[in-house]
Symmetry: none
Subunit: 225 residues, 2 copies
Amino acid sequence: MNGVDPQGTLTQLRALLAQAPLSVDSRLPPERDLCQQLGVSRGELRKALATLEAEGQLWRHVGKGTFIGSRPTESLADLSVTTSRTNPAEVMQTRLLIEPEIARVAALNATAADIAEMRTCMARSRSAATWRQYESWDNRLHRLIAESTRNTLLLAMFDTLNAVRRAVVWGRLRVNRTKPDPGHHSYAEHEEVVAAIADRDMDRAARMMRQHLQTVERKLLNQQQ
Amino acid sequence: MNGVDPQGTLTQLRALLAQAPLSVDSRLPPERDLCQQLGVSRGELRKALATLEAEGQLWRHVGKGTFIGSRPTESLADLSVTTSRTNPAEVMQTRLLIEPEIARVAALNATAADIAEMRTCMARSRSAATWRQYESWDNRLHRLIAESTRNTLLLAMFDTLNAVRRAVVWGRLRVNRTKPDPGHHSYAEHEEVVAAIADRDMDRAARMMRQHLQTVERKLLNQQQ
DNA sequence: ATGCGTACCATTAATTAATTGGTGAATAAT
DNA sequence: ATTATTCACCAATTAATTAATGGTACGCAT
């Protein structure tokens, strides 16, 4: 039909994309509709689309459609997949990066009620009769710190990290002792973190949290031997 | 029927679980089938099942079934829920906390190939003809930095954050200019981040990344006005 | 030869139907 | 009067079905 101007449909498409009310990542009509709409054959349309795809202006996938923008990188944001691919070392490194920063923001945003609840948590963890109870209050404290950042996204990231951690470090059981050591290192370290948060000392909160996690890591390594 | 021995069905069930060809995590028949198979009423069966569930021998869930073993860790870290509850400010704050730390680890672990690819990315982004292409290369560069930490969990967290960001900052379109400014701030800042990574200067990499993100934030705020 | 139309394929999304644990009411049993 | 059984229904989940979409081969015409 317009073999004399093989670039015609390509030009039409470019115009469509330029003037488009279609923003990025939006889907454009299926090929069968679009070729009728432009008055060209499907083959011709597909040639033009292939050119635009090669330029990176759009991307296509069978069953999904044709989309504006660049092909999204497949995110391994899936929890089960991540869990199976990571390892305790990665978990610890990630924790060591993120939780101190969380403590930093917590020092900025925690309310008096938050801090009071943290102290309650620590008292309960001190009087814990079993390791399970201790761990429960320990988890609660760490999450409380994340909550007091008043940042739901940050809290969600903390939860994700925590879920992966629990799934990965699952085989590590502490059954050797039935009662937590009253001189357990975490008691004093928790105190220091919470004190820094209460003092609104962001740097110190981050530093203390990092130190605490490093101690935990060291203990885990010793226990593993 | 066997009211004289209310533990009868429980004993039967224990025997079934003990001799079971059913391994852990396997599903046992639905209640409606199982109660007929054991010759008891559904209510009686459910009492026995409740006991076993309390003991942690099995777990149940509506629509799924009854499974042997302990309940799998539930991850409430759902992406869509998070997206609906957060806002651009939270996204930016979280990004500002995490990405510099990622850059820090990248400075430690990036290979020469990684750094070469980062430079390719920057070159492509410089020669980008449209904002869409620029954004594509910008995203690619940031993810490349995350990849070069060689920490799959950290990469997954980055992807999660990125997915939320894209979903939240969705209305923000850059249509005012059709071509990226050759003096665009990001060019120089990207250079500095990559240079710090290439120099293995962890602190500088983190600092430069933080500075870059702050510039981006400032530009976004100006644009919003 | 080239292009157009038709039909079909593999993959994905949307829709619908079955399945399943949880719960309350009516009824029978004791 | 209390307890157990049966039935019906509910909310959540999964399985099955249908529709939609990009990719591709074949026949036909020009």
